[in-house]
Every structure is written in C-alpha cells, then in structure tokens.
C-alpha cells in the first residue's frame, strides 16, 4: 500500500527517510534544501519511529555526527547544498576511508562561492571524481523526480550497507523545490538495538562483548597496510559497476542523436526529445541514474548507433568528460549547459543539439572532433 | 524660552510601513496612509503636523531612514 501526496522533493525525501526507518538525521539549514530538516522536525520523528533528528551547529558537525552514528551500525544521513557539502568533504572522505555506510544528500545550487540559490549541476565533478582527498569514490544517485527523491532514500541505504560505503544523492534546487505526486511507501520499522547488534555487530561499535573489539578508523600509519585498505575500496567500486549500475533509456531504440543528461537536466532534455521528434529529428535520451558507477558500456554501445551526442548539464561542462571517456571518440560528443542558477529551456536544448551536434556531425571529421574536446 | 517646531518628510517609496515610528512619537504626529506605494506598502505621513517638534525620534528608529526631520526654533 502506498499513500499519494503532492510534495516538494525535499519533503518527499524527508518523509521517505522516516518511513524507511532511518535512525538519524543531522543537518544544518541552507537553501534550497532546508525543507528536509524542517519536514523532519515538523513530523516529530522521535515519536513516529524514534528517529533522532538534530540540527547541528554546522555542516562539519553534522557530517561528523553522521560518522559517529554510522559507526554504531545505525542508518544515518545528512543533507545540505553546495557550500555546505564542500565543508563536509573531509568527513565524507573519512566515511569512505573508515568504510561506513551513510547517505549524504546534495541539493545543488549555483556556485562557486556563495553563488546563487538557484538550481545547478555544477557539483558533478565534486561528486563523482572526488571532492574529498584520497583515493575514494562515492556511489552517486541522481533523482530526476519527486518520486525518486523519495524512493532513492531506501535504495541509497541499501547500497550503503551492502558496501559499507557512503552514498551521495545528488539532487538540485529544481528537484528539491518542485512539487509532484509522490507515492509514499508504508512505514517500516526501525531496527531495534538488538537487531542492529545482530546484523552489524561484527564491525560496528556497539559496546564490546565477548567478541573482539570493533574499531572504526581510516588511519594506517603503515603505507603497506594503507594500500591494502585502498585496494579494498577499489574492489567495492568494481563490484558496484557490475552489480549496481542504473540508468534509463528514453526513445533510444531508433535514435540518431543522443542526449545524455541526469537529474533536472534529464527532465528538460526529455521534453527536448519530444520537441525534436515533432521536428522529425530522431533524438533519444540516456539518463544515467547512477553517476558513479557510470553507464559507460551503454554509451559505448549507443555510440555505434547514433551520429552524435550532446551532454546536457546545468554547468559549464563536467559530465561531458565522462561521456567522452565512454564513447572513446567513436562519434562527436558536445556539451550544452547553462550555469549560475539558470535552467535551460527544452527549446534551447534542442537548438543546441541542432547547432552543435547535427551540423557538426555531418561534417564530422577528426579535426572538428578534436577541437571540440581539447 | 524658545520652543521647537518640526516637520518630517517621509520618502514614500522607501518607507515600508512598519509603523515603528508611530509609537516613538510622543506627539502622535504620524499615521499610515490607506493607499500603498509601488512595493505595496502603506506609508507613514504626518496626520498631525502641528504637533511635530522635530525631536527625530521617529527618524532614529526608522530602519529604512525614510524620514527626514526639519526643525526651527520659534519663540515660546
């Protein structure tokens, strides 16, 4: 059974967290995601499920609270927006290093600096390449609807616990602020302390009983051991690629031109696909749902079918590099994006396909391709 | 002893109609218009101009410094 509601993405995410039986949320207000903590506080989750919701003194305190909570085997999450996420990066790197399951939500706004509070996708690199220090990756889920804001909370925790690794939900101001219909799942029970111990007592700090003591740390002064740690992380990432890649193909079957877009850009590109098809241009859309792992094989294969690809992003060109790496220069790959909080219109996106890809694609020799990439 | 006589000029467009100036005026000089300015705010005006003694209390408390105060000394 599910309940139908009209909600903001941020609210849906918060409500889903309660219903998924999340144990703790720690956060600090920042536009455009403050509704997350506001909804949680309004819902008295301590009463509904016993969930701990705490407004921290800063983003740094919040991410470290998540680290503390996660180290006890409980489900903990935080959310913020761009500048706040930058502040959390040390803590995120610690989570990865200490192999802790946790969910971090970034409702991206335009940067750099204080920037704007309008939607943006300019934190793509930070999210998928490694905002924090050291050799680690985040599993990154990019919701494109209010429904996904809701659904991905549970998915994210599943992955986080499967791999004992932090998971990022990379949203943006548009998805966070818009309202849509959402089917909310039924309330799940939070695990009892005993269940937590039974399930995660092998590694979590729950109090040392007869077992060996559990230690949560990301430190190894001995580089030989540290290298082993890092390789262990790498293995997880390989497994994620194999088992937990997610993407959506829209109108790809007969597509001659391909948009690649995630999150709010995917919504807009999808409309551009309809506009294109009305004009007789066979356009399709590949929407990566996970940004890491990235659907590179899928793109590599689609590159045999299409004549050109446009990476549509709310930034000055970030994901386009991953598209290029995946496509391996088989067809021209271009980027279109607006930035600083401006959202491109479907019309603009289609125009960009026509100007940058279709025309170029016809000439399509190596030189033009080079110039577009270099 | 010379008595002070005052007057205020309210900048209709910067006044936001917060009414903070009203109670600090011991002479009850100020009231709010019923019309609104371009930003949709009612604004302050001298409903009781004779009473103003130019004490500047209203101007000092006005967050938007919408009030300019004038004062002359008149024989008591």
């Amino acid at each position: 059974m599910s309940e139908l509601k009209l909600m903001k993405g941020n609210e849906a995410l918060a409500e889903a967290a309660i219903r998924a039986g999340v144990d703790a949320y720690f956060g600090y207000p920042i536009t455009p995601q403050s509704e997350v903590i506001e909804h949680l506080m309004a819902e008295r989750p301590e009463e509904r499920t016993g969930m701990v919701v705490l407004q921290a003194e800063s983003e740094i305190a919040a991410i470290n609270m998540v680290y503390g909570a996660a180290s006890t085997g409980k489900k903990a999450m935080t959310s913020s927006s761009s500048p706040g996420i930058s502040l959390k990066l040390e803590g995120i790197s610690y989570l990865a290093g200490a192999e802790l399951p946790a969910v971090i939500v970034n409702v991206v706004r335009g940067g750099p600096g204080l920037g704007t509070i309008q939607p943006s996708q300019a934190d793509y690199f930070q999210s998928v390449k490694g905002g924090g220090h050291g050799d680690f990756k985040l599993y990154v889920l990019a919701p494109a609807s209010v429904q996904e804001m809701s659904d991905f909370v549970e998915d994210a925790f599943d992955i986080a616990f499967k791999y004992r690794a932090p998971v990022l939900i990379l949203s943006d101001g548009l998805i966070g602020q818009m309202m849509e219909k959402v089917h909310l799942k039924d309330q799940q029970k939070r695990m009892t302390d005993e269940e937590v111990i039974e399930k995660y007592g092998s590694w979590a700090v729950t109090g040392k009983t007869d077992r060996e003591r559990n230690i949560i740390t990301s430190l190894d002064l001995d580089p030989e051991k540290m290298e082993v740690r890092v390789y262990k992380l790498l293995k997880k990432y390989d497994q994620m690629e194999k088992e937990d890649l997610r993407y959506e193909k829209i109108s790809c079957d007969d597509a001659e031109y391909l948009f690649v877009a995630y999150g709010s850009s995917a919504r807009i590109a999808q409309k551009a696909v309809s506009l294109a098809r009305k004009k007789g241009i066979k356009a399709g859309l590949l929407r990566p749902i996970t940004l890491f792992p990235y659907p590179k094989h899928q793109l590599f294969e689609l590159a045999d079918q299409v004549k050109g690809i446009l990476s549509v992003e709310l930034n000055t060109g970030q994901m386009v590099e991953d598209v290029q790496l995946a496509v391996q220069h088989k067809v021209p790959v271009e980027h279109f994006g607006r930035t600083g909080g401006i959202i491109h219109t479907p019309e603009e996106v289609l125009e960009a396909l026509e100007d940058k890809v279709i025309i170029n694609g016809c000439i399509g020799n190596h030189k033009t391709r080079e110039s577009s990439i270099l | 002893m010379a008595k002070a006589k005052g007057a205020i000029v309210v900048n209709n467009e910067t006044c936001k109609g917060c009414e903070l100036c009203i109670p600090v005026c011991k002479e009850n000089v100020i009231s709010m218009t019923s019309v609104v300015n371009r930003k949709g705010y009612h604004y302050a005006y001298m409903i009781n101009p004779e009473a103003c003694n130019g004490c500047t209390n209203c101007a000092v408390v006005c967050p938007d410094r919408a009030i300019t105060v004038y004062r002359v000394k008149v024989p008591a």
């Binding site: 903590i37 800063s58 | 006589k5 910067t14 009203i22």
Partner: protein
C-alpha cells in the same frame, strides 16, 4: 507656522547619511538590521573614518550589507567573518575593521572563529545582531533561540533537553582577555537606538586606540521569522528576549561588570 516653511534645507536636523547608498534595504519592514546598518554607518560618518574602514559582511539576511554601506566591504563565508577581519586588520593595522554578523553566523557555524579572534584580541569591532533565529534561510532555530520558542526547525518550541539552552555568547567571550569591550544593546526605540549608537561609537574608538576586540551585540527582532508584525515583534522581544539577553555593558575597558 506652515510645514513648508519648516521643510527647508537649512532646518534639516536628521536625514539618511550619504554614506548609505541609495539602494532600498533588502530587509523586511521593521527589521532591526536596517537600523543597525544605519547607526553603524552614521558612526563611521561622524568619526570621518570611511576612508579607513573596511567592513566584513556575513552570510545571513545582512549578506548584502555591501549594497547599502558605501564603504569597502568583503563578503565572508558563513561564520568566518572574524577570521577574515583578523587578516584584514593584521595587514592594514591602521584601518578600522568590523564584522557585521547574525547569531547563526556568529554563534553556530562561526563559533571557533569568533572565539579565537576574541582570544587573540584582534583589533576589530564585531557587530552582532541577535534575533534568535536564522532569518535568511526561513526562520530556523539558532543557538540563541529561546527555550520554548517556535521556529521552522523547532516547530513545537525549542526544548532544552534535546536542543540545548540559548547560548549567551557575548557573556562567554567577554571572559577572554582579548575582548576589551562587550555590550548588549537594542534598537527598537529611539532611546535604545541612540544608546546603541553610542556603544558602536565606543567600539570604533577602541579600534583607534588599538584595544582589541569590541563586541557589540544588538538584540533585535525578526518579525518574518517570528511571524509577527514589527511592533508585535518588538514587544515580544522586550518581554521574552531581554530577560534572557539583558541589555547593558558586559565588559568595559577590559573589566567585566558584575552581573
């Protein structure tokens, strides 16, 4: 005597200082930020130190202070204004450097920067507008939020047990040797505003004398966040905020006042 006879340039006794720009203040009607801005700039104007003053704007409702104050200003990352002011003051030791901060900025995320700038005794003025709430982001709980007070993140009122007590950061930093002057004022009436202005003046005078940190807290309203009219909010402030954040000097000339 006719009003028009009075309203003549030579009779003008009060008007907005030219050191404020012509931009309309971005604050809600009746918000104390506007008054504090004006008082600060009036002091700078009266001391004729505009050329030698550098302001640091926070993240908060007053983030755009630089749009209104016609002086050189740097906009700080959330909470970091005291660190930024530290550097400016060290590099231009003859300048007047002030921060302008809200309570979320100064007493939550910026706690460490505030405390350590105070401990080092940087030669700066801190103007701290305490409205018990995060105004800019829509009225969330601040460290200074009163017990039982409803905000968007304490919709059933701040509970001490879970959320802690209102943080009296001015009293706290007043204990540090680097703080030379600490005072708590308000601007909700002409009397209070005039007193607050004197305190701000004293703070800037201290900078001139190289005395270290002058910390001027202004207890203020956030009628939007509190969901009241401006006049209601001022009354609420008098009734509820002042008992917890009592007005008056806390430390003068490096000496703590007994409380």
């Amino acid at each position: 005597m006719d009003v028009l006879e009075i309203i003549k340039p030579e009779n003008q006794v009060f008007c907005k200082t030219k050191l404020m720009t012509d931009a309309t203040l971005s604050y809600c009607p009746g918000c104390g930020h506007g008054t504090v801005h004006n008082l600060t700039i009036e002091v700078i104007d009266e001391m004729a130190i505009a050329e030698d003053t550098i302001g640091v704007a926070p993240v908060g409702c007053s983030v755009l202070a630089y749009d209104f104050m016609n002086i050189d200003m740097t906009q700080a990352a959330h909470g970091r204004a005291p660190a930024i002011a530290t550097a400016i003051s060290r590099l231009w030791p003859n300048k007047y450097v002030f921060t302008y901060q809200g309570d979320g900025d100064l007493a939550a995320i910026g706690t460490a920067e505030t405390l350590h700038a105070c401990n080092r005794g940087e030669n700066i003025v801190v103007i701290f507008v305490n409205n018990g709430i995060y105004g800019m982001t829509g009225g969330q709980m601040a460290p200074t939020t009163l017990c039982g007070m409803r905000t968007s993140t304490s919709p059933y009122g701040r509970e001490i047990e879970n959320m802690g007590s209102p943080l009296k950061i001015t009293e706290l930093v007043a204990n540090l040797p680097g703080v030379f002057y600490a005072t708590r004022q308000s601007v909700h009436t002409h009397k209070h505003a005039r007193k607050a202005k004197k305190a701000i003046r004293k703070a800037f005078e201290n900078t001139r004398l190289n005395k270290g940190v002058s910390f001027v807290e202004i207890v203020s309203n956030c009628n939007s966040g509190w969901k009241m009219t401006p006049l209601e909010s001022n009354q609420w402030m008098v009734d509820n905020m002042f008992p917890i954040f009592p007005l008056g000097d806390i430390k003068v000339d490096a000496k703590l006042k007994k409380s």
